[in-house]
């Protein structure tokens, strides 16, 4: 039960972080991305739209996972 809550909390944090990262990818050109971001390139005005989409999808998947995991427990009828 405790592990479950920890997992849900972790999924929510990672999900929100990834969606924030996605927004950064969409909003900032490659030269303005933080140095540790994949795709950072000094002097480049290219926007890494695809990196943003990938981060957004994985972030969304984490939130959906947390949503299901924190739902009411089902008793199997089978």
């Amino acid at each position: 039960m405790r592990n479950d809550r920890l997992l849900v909390a972790l999924a929510v944090v990672v999900g929100i972080a990834l969606i924030a990262i996605a927004v950064v990818y969409w909003a900032e050109p490659a030269k303005s991305l933080p140095g540790f971001f994949p795709g950072h390139q000094g002097g480049s005005n290219h926007h890494h739209v695809k990196h943003g989409i990938a981060a957004f999808l994985v972030g969304l998947a984490c939130l959906v996972f947390a949503w299901f995991r924190s739902g009411p427990k089902r008793t199997s009828t089978a």
């Binding site: 695809k50 990196h51 299901f68 739902g71 009411p72 089902r74």
Partner: protein, 290 residues
């Protein structure tokens, strides 16, 4: 003007007709669109911007046809997804919800791998020679899937219920990720997913159905993502040909999916394996001695 002469309207029709069939038949549309122009001496290169723009339109048409063909299924699947989100869980008896999430789970790895690897793989394996070699390997892959397949249990009357019962979450991830093979010209997306479906215990018919459902969001999303190129400067001089190609692609895609859904009720991947192996081998030898 130069662009128009490279993809003339007759060529656009031929490429569109070919695309509609080869995208859904497990024989690699990208491989064929690389090999055929080379065999016919057409000066078209798969990494040329105008050609990629042309392909965006034909892919979008194929995705729309798939969406239209399975629209009733998609409606049920979307309702199932909505129900599971509302209930915060997937009812074991709700096959539509389970199938919907299997498709989501299968699409995510394919999408991420596609976004990450598409450009690199297309650049590395751009030549017609490598496409011919991979087409041969695609034949072996299809034959291997038929040889190693598990016997499909008849667990339910309804196709979607059978798929939902037979495919686990792990299977969906693996089958979905296998779609990324199609980023290499010569390997087939539908071939990889149908083969994966057979390996996890689906019948040929159910594997084809799962492959087509799985292909719809990924082909559609890839096309929509590149749609701005069609309406931007890259589309100059090629939009008319792209429209004609897309219409031709839509017609053949419709007949292809209709044919395949009936074909796989009784038949296997073997004829496609034989075709890919022989056509790939013949093209490989031809390009080597040319």
């Amino acid at each position: 003007m130069i662009v128009a002469s490279l993809i003339s309207y007759p060529r656009a029709i031929a490429l569109g007709l070919l695309q509609g069939v080869s995208e859904l038949f497990p024989i690699s549309s990208l491989g064929h669109s690389v090999i055929l122009p080379r065999l016919l001496g057409w000066n078209i290169h798969q990494n040329d911007k105008y050609f990629l723009t042309f392909l965006v339109a034909t892919h979008l048409a194929t995705a729309l046809v798939l969406l239209g063909f399975f629209w009733r299924d998609w409606l049920r699947i979307l309702k199932g997804l909505g129900r599971s989100l509302r209930d915060r869980g997937i009812d074991p008896a709700d096959a539509d919800a389970k199938l919907g999430w299997l498709l989501v789970v299968g699409t995510i790895p394919a999408g991420i791998l596609g976004l990450a690897l598409e450009h690199k793989l297309r650049s590395v394996f751009a030549s017609a020679q490598s496409a011919a070699i991979f087409l041969t390997l695609n034949g072996l892959l299809l034959a291997g899937a038929e040889l190693l397949r598990r016997r499909a249990p008849q667990t339910a009357e309804d196709d979607d219920v059978r798929i939902a019962r037979q495919v686990s979450w792990r299977d969906a991830v693996l089958v979905g990720a296998a779609q990324a093979l199609a980023l290499i010209p010569g390997f087939s997306r539908s071939g990889a997913t149908m083969g994966g479906g057979l390996l996890v215990g689906l019948s040929n018919k159910d594997a084809a159905r799962f492959a087509f459902l799985l292909a719809t969001p990924i082909i559609g999303a890839a096309a929509i993502l590149k749609l701005p190129e069609l309406f931007g400067s890259d589309g100059d001089g090629v939009r008319g040909q792209a429209l004609v190609g897309a219409l031709c692609s839509a017609v053949t895609a419709y007949f292809a999916v209709r044919f395949l859904m009936r074909f796989f009720e009784t038949q296997t991947l073997v004829p496609f394996a034989v075709y890919c192996f022989l056509a790939g081998l013949a093209a490989t030898i031809y390009f080597a001695v040319q």
